[in-house]
């Protein structure tokens, strides 16, 4: 009887584990780049493709970097010519899915860079997952596009 109770307890614990991945282990970030901002402005946009290769959803809680006073995830909402930015508090990527941040759509907003972001540089950003683990990603600063 004790044996069976333990089995049920173990099974219950397994069933209670959310279908959301806790760590950054199953994510891969590709094509990471920042558009070089004109020298007179204090904001820049970053873009990337994030692949979740795992069997559970992954939640990116935030993205951090010492490059800037703030790094925020934004999406573009609205229709046709009436589009505007809206903050994206978290990024959820379902299993075996890709999230793309591309110009005119979702993007990272990098506010008040501590140093000028210049074409040819690499800037390290940390993607923080819901368990506090992180991965570091090099973003190439690129002119134009």
């Amino acid at each position: 009887m004790i044996c069976c109770t333990r089995r049920w307890t173990t099974l219950s614990l397994i069933l209670m584990v959310p279908r959301t991945g806790l760590s950054c282990d199953t994510i891969e970030v590709l094509d990471a780049w920042i558009r070089e901002p004109p020298p007179v402005v204090s904001v820049a946009a970053g873009y990337f493709t994030l692949k979740n290769t795992g069997s559970k959803s992954v939640v990116i809680e935030r993205i951090e970097s010492s490059c800037c006073a703030e790094v925020a995830m934004h999406r573009v909402v609205g229709v046709r010519d009436q589009k505007h930015m809206a903050p994206m508090p978290k990024l959820l990527v379902p299993p075996n899915k890709i999230a793309s941040f591309t110009p005119g759509n979702a993007h990272l907003m990098l506010v008040s860079p501590t140093e000028p972001l210049l074409h040819g540089q690499n800037v390290e950003l940390s993607f923080i997952c819901s368990d506090g683990t992180s991965i570091q990603v090099d973003f190439a600063v690129v002119y134009g596009q």
């Binding site: 558009r35 901002p37 004109p38 020298p39 007179v40 402005v41 204090s42 904001v43 820049a44 946009a45 006073a69 703030e70 925020a72 934004h74 573009v76 046709r80 010519d81 009436q82 589009k83 505007h84 930015m85 903050p87 110009p103 005119g104 993007h107 907003m109 990098l110 506010v111 008040s112 134009g144 596009q145």
Partner: protein
């Protein structure tokens, strides 16, 4: 918004973004460019003008669009008839942060031939109101303090000061160049 519709002829119907027939005429407005000179409706007379509204602290849509318009500008150089009469006007809807010098440096970064101009709120609305362009301030919690939400389309004004075309997102240089040439050709033929 105005759209090209069947009725004038088939080619007008096929031109996405063409505002025809009866395009609205542009009335008076007054902005100031980076040199402190006035930019008014007279600066548009005799030219094909693409107008885009934005602000320099805009991280995504404005630099993406201006970089695309610079590519359009380069592609049009192979069509001298149009290129000689072509200009791009970027109007800042954030005059509190975009002073003349900053605005000029900003547009120069994308293309030194582009015109950057702004005005006080009343002056900007004198122009935006003619196109149905919308802009407003949105407070943010971070160090950016606020953002400006604004219409993201690029507008085309013909040499007779008529609002004849609109290019909605997504903006792609080859697509805009091709449609721009087609619309200009159509409007010149239609008179």
């Amino acid at each position: 918004m105005y759209i090209a519709s069947r009725g004038h002829n088939e080619s007008a119907y096929d031109l996405t973004g063409l505002l025809w027939p009866d395009p609205p005429s542009i009335g008076s407005f007054s902005l100031t460019n980076g040199d402190g000179d006035a930019v008014t409706e007279r600066n548009l007379h005799g030219r094909w003008t693409l107008i885009f509204f934005g602000f320099t602290n805009c991280p995504d849509i404005c630099p993406t669009t201006l970089a695309t318009l610079s590519q359009v500008y380069q592609r049009l150089q192979s069509n001298q008839d149009i290129f000689e009469k072509f200009q791009v006007l970027f109007v800042s809807v954030d005059p509190a942060r975009d002073d003349r010098e900053k605005l000029q440096s900003y547009v120069d970064y994308f293309n030194p031939n582009f015109i950057g101009a702004t005005a006080d709120d009343e002056g900007i609305k004198q122009l935006t109101g003619q196109f149905g362009v919308v802009y407003f301030k949105v407070k943010t919690t971070g160090p950016a303090d606020y953002n400006m939400n604004h219409t993201s389309s690029v507008l085309l004004i013909d040499p007779h000061l008529r609002f004849v075309g609109i290019f909605s997102q997504p903006h792609e240089a080859n697509d805009i160049t091709q449609r721009l040439v087609q619309i200009i050709s159509f409007v010149e033929d239609a008179g």
